[in-house]
């Protein structure tokens, strides 16, 4: 009963957040300076004022932003229709879905690696506290966490392509473009190495730091002392009592990150010309493609909200205090 109320409450908050995001989503891009029509026609100077006007009408930009455009957009969204992209002339939802898989592949791999490596590093550093290993791992993690994404990406790109012959961009080689991804796995893997490495290094630091401080806290608890007194080995104490309790903050941060990393991939995808959501957002922003931008931001917001709900849900299983309360 308590859990159901708790979850319902969280769910309600999530819904409210979503409504607020929808509103913000509409306003945000329209307060930006710039004329979407000029962005669509680019540098083509021969487009007459009449043609520009007809495009404006086609996109509904000839009507006032409020209430007409707002009502139109809300009406569309209510029907589950995200509209048609101005720059690509395809349904927004279709474009988003095709890019979502690519992004999930990249961040899924990156998250998995950074969680595993970060946890192990944090665990060891916490266990071997104040040793040179701890200091070294701490330094590395702080630096990795503080490094600008774009900078690290370009450094790895230059190094990787110069010394290891890794590709400079794309998701597959041009000759494999358009083929289903599972038929070109070696080529895909080759293209994934650098972006995944960048992602892993950037997030590893955060996980390591969380894990380290969390394990330090746990190790100072009385039950650890008890466990040692019972004669358990260091390793047993660490894995059976230390790790499990230290995982709690990790789950929170992992769940939250899963939501945020979709947008965090914008820089990595741009550096590596990786055909994913982040890249799409960047292009749509440059082209002032409102429907596409709105759709993409809605998706990003929803993924953050879902990740939050997921974290709350997991808590009810992991943390007895939440269960009881």
């Amino acid at each position: 009963m308590a859990r159901r109320d708790y979850l319902l409450g969280k769910f309600g908050i999530a819904l409210l957040t979503l409504l607020f995001v929808l509103l913000l989503d509409f306003v945000l891009f329209r307060v930006l300076p710039g004329d979407p029509i000029r962005a669509v026609i680019g540098r083509n100077v021969r487009i007459s004022a009449e043609v520009q006007q007809s495009l404006r009408e086609q996109f509904g930009l000839d009507k006032p932003v409020f209430p007409d455009q707002f009502v139109d957009t809300l009406g569309q969204w209510a029907q589950g229709n995200l509209g048609v992209s101005w720059s690509q002339r395809k349904p927004v939802s279709e474009i988003l879905i095709s890019k979502l898989w690519n992004t999930l592949l990249l961040i899924g791999l990156g998250q998995l690696l950074s969680i595993i490596l970060g946890s192990i590093l944090g665990l060891l550093a916490g266990w071997k506290r104040k040793t040179p290993f701890d200091v070294g791992a701490l330094m590395f993690s702080l630096i990795a966490w503080a490094t600008p994404t774009f900078w690290l990406g370009i450094i790895l790109l230059v190094a990787g392509s110069t010394w290891f012959g890794l590709p400079t961009g794309g998701i597959v080689s041009p000759e494999n473009v358009g083929k289903p991804l599972h038929t070109v796995i070696p080529d895909l893997a080759h293209h994934l190495i650098l972006p995944t490495l960048t992602f892993t290094i950037l997030y590893l630091g955060e996980y390591m730091l969380i894990m380290r401080s969390s394990i330090l806290e746990v190790l100072s608890e009385d039950y650890i002392l008890t466990a040692r007194a019972k004669g358990m080995s260091h390793f047993q104490v660490l894995t059976r009592h230390g790790l499990r309790n230290a995982m709690l903050p990790m789950v929170t941060i992992v769940a939250l990150n899963l939501g945020f990393t979709v947008s965090g991939a914008i820089y990595i995808e741009t550096v590596f010309s990786y055909d994913g959501l982040g890249n799409l957002v960047q292009t749509a922003l440059v082209k002032q493609d409102y429907p596409l931008l709105q759709g993409a931001f809605l998706l990003l917001a929803v993924s953050v909200i879902i990740a939050n709900v997921l974290a709350d849900f997991l808590y009810t299983y992991l943390d007895p205090r939440v269960k009881a309360n």
Binding site: Q52, Q53, S98, V177, L181, H182, S273
Partner: protein, 555 residues
């Protein structure tokens, strides 16, 4: 407890596996017999930062789209690297005495990419389609203005009759591609036509479309072995889209790509230093200028420009105090040429640029003297005044540009030395458009233009009737004599006669100074000269159809 942790891992893994397998298989299909890159095939890979908006010529606006059309489609005539118009589909052509009837004879044995023979009927159909549905063919309808009838009297002849003589007929025709009628016949409304993506265009050009993958921006083109002027020496051209210029430059360095469509000016020196790479700076068709408010006082709403700017002596002083070479060297690392008129020397291979216009030599002293002689006296605060007139101006520029702020600083500094106070101010492009088109709410503005290959467009920006909302004039130049000359040049079918009119127009604009044209930009490209050779080096770029038709792999 244990199982639940595992559940989390399983979910994550599942998502990963799904994403790897699902892979959002794109809709485009690649021909299975496509030659693979490498091996004995010569594949030229071109890197660029953009991609075509669409491959449908009815609705394509971006330069990138026209680069692809140039390779896949053929018009009747096309511009060559020297700025002359030469036959593409047409073997020869002639104009009747009255300048109203144009007759084109097609080359022999013309074939579409699918092997079918091309007929004159089909060429006429493609042009007629634009005339009949100008709303649908939004991107090209401007080129058929004044056409009254296009017919195919016999299998080898296309005839165009116009309402009035059209001076730049060849230029216009160079954009009227022969599209494959069966691809375009079925559309009934302009929207239907514009929503057609034409991802697999059938043309008659040097290269056939193999793949256009809208998701990744990759375009694969195969050599057309049956091309009318002979097969290309390379087998494939691949365009690859990059989202970061640093990554693209690195790709050229390590040889992932062979040609850079456009090198950013800031990276040109670096690229020049790469081993096995040749970097080239071509004269381009664009320029940047200082706009001087020239809006008529009768304009509605009235201009807010400082009235002192109407004085020709002030304008001359403003130009004399500009060191063009300094701007090029400091702001553009030397990549530009000092400019004079609004018609860049690249148009028509230099045919239209008036070579007799000489800009005053940079001299602060001389500029001071001009203002002194005109009666502007240096005030106590270092700003010159004459009666009510005070030489203090707003100096605005487009905030999006990274170069304009530095140019503004240079100008303000020089002007400061001649008793003119110019206050630099970054303004966003829309505000700038609102302040300049039809309004005249500014003093001085730094901005730029890209000209068409034909001078008609760039001359039109100085027309009186273009100073309206949505028009091209920002300076508000109004000169009935100039307007008349503009109409004259449009119908001057004789090239030399048209040249003389255009010379005169440039002189007028130069002397009245609605613009002080600062410099002509360079167009920067680079290629792997250790792999490919024999490009045509011209301001049209290395990747024109003609150039890619003769390029050869280095043995």
């Amino acid at each position: 407890m244990k199982t639940r942790y595992n559940l989390f891992v399983v979910v994550t893994l599942l998502a990963l596996i799904l994403s790897a397998c699902g892979g959002g298989a794109p809709a485009t299909q690649i021909a299975t017999d496509a030659p693979s890159a490498g091996g004995e095939n010569a594949v030229l890979k071109i890197g660029w930062l953009g991609e075509p908006d669409t491959l449908n010529p009815a609705y394509a606006f971006l330069t990138e789209a026209y680069s692809i059309f140039d390779l896949v489609y053929s018009p009747l005539v096309t511009e060559d690297s020297s700025g002359e118009y030469v036959g593409a589909l047409a073997k020869e052509w002639s104009t009747a005495e009255d300048g109203l009837t144009w007759t084109f004879t097609l080359k022999d044995g013309l074939k579409w990419h699918n092997g079918e023979a091309l007929t004159a009927d089909q060429v006429a159909w493609a042009i007629n389609a634009i005339m009949l549905d100008p709303d649908g063919w939004a991107a090209l309808s401007g080129y058929v203005g004044g056409f009254s009838e296009v017919t195919a009297p016999d299998e080898k002849t296309v005839q165009i009759v116009t309402e009035y003589p059209i001076a730049n007929m060849e230029y216009r025709l160079s954009f009227l591609y022969a599209v494959y009628p069966p691809d375009f016949e079925s559309f009934t409304t302009p929207e239907d036509l514009q929503n057609f993506t034409n991802d697999k265009p059938i043309g008659t050009g040097r290269f056939k479309m193999n793949t256009f993958d809208k998701d990744t921006g990759v375009i694969v083109l195969d050599a057309n072995k049956d091309y009318m002027d002979g097969a290309p020496f390379i087998d494939q051209v691949i365009y690859q889209k990059f989202d970061s210029s640093d990554a693209m430059i690195q790709a050229l360095k390590v040889g992932d790509i062979d040609l850079l469509y456009e090198v950013p000016a800031s990276a040109f020196e670096t690229v020049k230093g790469f081993e096995g790479v040749t970097a080239l700076a071509f004269e381009s068709r664009s320029f940047d200028e200082l706009i001087i408010n020239s809006v008529s006082d009768d304009n509605d709403p009235a201009p807010t420009g400082n009235p002192a700017l109407k004085d020709p002596a002030v304008r001359l002083a403003l130009e004399t105090a500009i060191n063009r070479q300094d701007i090029i060297d400091i702001v553009w690392q030397g990549l530009g040429s000092p400019a004079d008129t609004i018609v860049p020397p690249t148009l028509g291979g230099g045919f239209w640029h008036n070579p007799n216009i000489k800009t005053p030599e940079f001299s602060i002293e001389k500029a001071n003297q001009i203002l002194e002689d005109a009666g502007y006296v240096l005030g106590a605060d270092g700003v010159r005044e004459k009666g009510d007139l005070r030489l203090e101006f707003r100096l605005q520029f487009d905030a999006d540009s990274s170069n304009y702020p530095r140019i503004a600083d240079l100008l303000a500094d020089w002007y400061n030395q001649i008793g003119v106070k110019a206050t630099p101010e970054a303004v966003n492009a829309d505000t700038l458009i609102a302040a300049t088109t039809g309004v005249g709410d500014y003093d001085l503005v730094i901005w730029g233009w890209g000209a068409d290959p034909d001078p008609d467009f760039i001359l039109s920006i100085m027309l009186t009737d273009q100073f309206v909302l949505g028009g091209w004039s920002d300076a508000g130049y109004h000169n009935p004599e100039y307007d008349q000359l503009y109409l004259d040049q449009q119908t001057a079918v004789n090239k030399e006669e048209r040249q003389q009119i255009i010379y005169k127009m440039q002189e007028m604009v130069y002397n009245d100074r609605p613009y002080i044209v600062l410099y002509y930009n360079k167009y920067l490209q680079a290629y792997r000269s250790d792999r490919f050779t024999n490009f045509i080096e011209s301001s049209l770029g290395l990747d024109t159809s003609a150039s890619l038709g003769q390029v050869k792999p280095v043995p």
